[in-house]
């Protein structure tokens, strides 16, 4: 009974994937064995059929434009996402900056000043409800006069500073 080469080895032989000694031995065997040779030929025919089929296929025209268009769209949406991320990061930095400012010594000072101003405003508002209209008008007029005097004083002071600078 004649020896036949395993078909898996014949498949590898077609692809040139056997070691040189095996390649040579298989080649010698194929010269003598028609049955193994027909297996090799059948595998080669299968390969040719598949190649002929796939080689006859062509991708539709214009795929380059479609790919570039999709890439541009992706780039646009990526930029939008990037801007949104920068905005969110900015908001986070601002928030934590504010928190740090509040708990820092400077923040305490800011809070004290804020409370002082709030208290003054609250006091002024309370005065309007406590005092009668005539007194409110009197206080208003007084504050108006004081403000006017202050402004005139500041103006004169600035004027004299400018003169000194010129001299």
């Amino acid at each position: 009974m004649q020896y036949h080469i395993p078909q898996e080895r014949l498949s590898a032989y077609i692809d040139g994937e056997l070691v040189p000694e095996e390649m040579e031995a298989t080649r010698r065997h194929l010269n003598q064995c028609q049955e193994c040779m027909s297996v090799v030929e059948s595998y080669q025919a299968v390969g040719s059929s598949v190649r002929a089929l796939l080689d006859s296929l062509y991708v539709p025209e214009g795929i380059e434009a479609t790919v570039l268009q999709r890439l541009e769209m992706m780039s646009g949406s990526r930029q939008t996402r990037h801007l949104f991320e920068v905005y969110l990061a900015g908001m986070a930095v601002a928030f934590f900056g504010m928190m740090l400012l509040i708990i820092s010594p400077i923040g305490r000072f800011v809070r004290v000043v804020f409370r002082l101003l709030a208290a003054m405003l609250h006091g002024l508002l309370m005065m309007s409800s406590v005092l009668q209209l005539v007194w409110i008008v009197g206080v208003g007029a007084f504050m108006f006069v004081v403000l006017g005097i202050s402004l005139v004083g500041i103006r004169r002071m600035l004027h004299s500073i400018q003169k000194e600078a010129v001299l």
């Binding site: 898996e8 498949s11 390969g47 598949v50 296929l57 380059e64 570039l68």
Partner: protein, 178 residues
Amino acid sequence: MNESDVALIRAAMSGRSESFSTLVTHYRNFVYRTVYGILRNAADAEDVTQETFIKVYQSLKGLRQPETFPTWLARTAVRTALNWVEKSNRSRAAPLEGNIGYVQRDEYRSTQIRIDVENALNQLSPEHRAVIVLRELHGFNYEEMARILEVPVGTVRSRLFNARTKLRQLLSDERGDA
């Protein structure tokens, strides 16, 4: 792969979109035939071809040796096609009529052989189709195929043998040889 392709790849790596567009022109049929061989559906193959080139563009800067571009491109195409099959399982319902518009009008198309090969390929698993396409169409060696498919060389060898044997049997049945 020639020198001009290497230059194109380098230009595309530096972000020149017109070079990448030319690269797509040069390799579009390479990718399309590869993914079509696995998916067996023209519309899906077109989508996966686009998807493959988008992936390639996004990861092109990671390619260290432009000379290995065809292998790298084939790997991306095969992985994208196999993922597509896994995700949608569309290849099992691949209609043969859908392919007609994308096939060159040559003599071969009209023959019964073509239909037989189409039918036979349809009955293989996507993994078997992948090895057949990589070997018979592109001529990759076992080591390259193992890298592309991320399997051992021994698996490539046995998978290719099984795919060939099954195809031979199926074609023989189609032609009434058995």
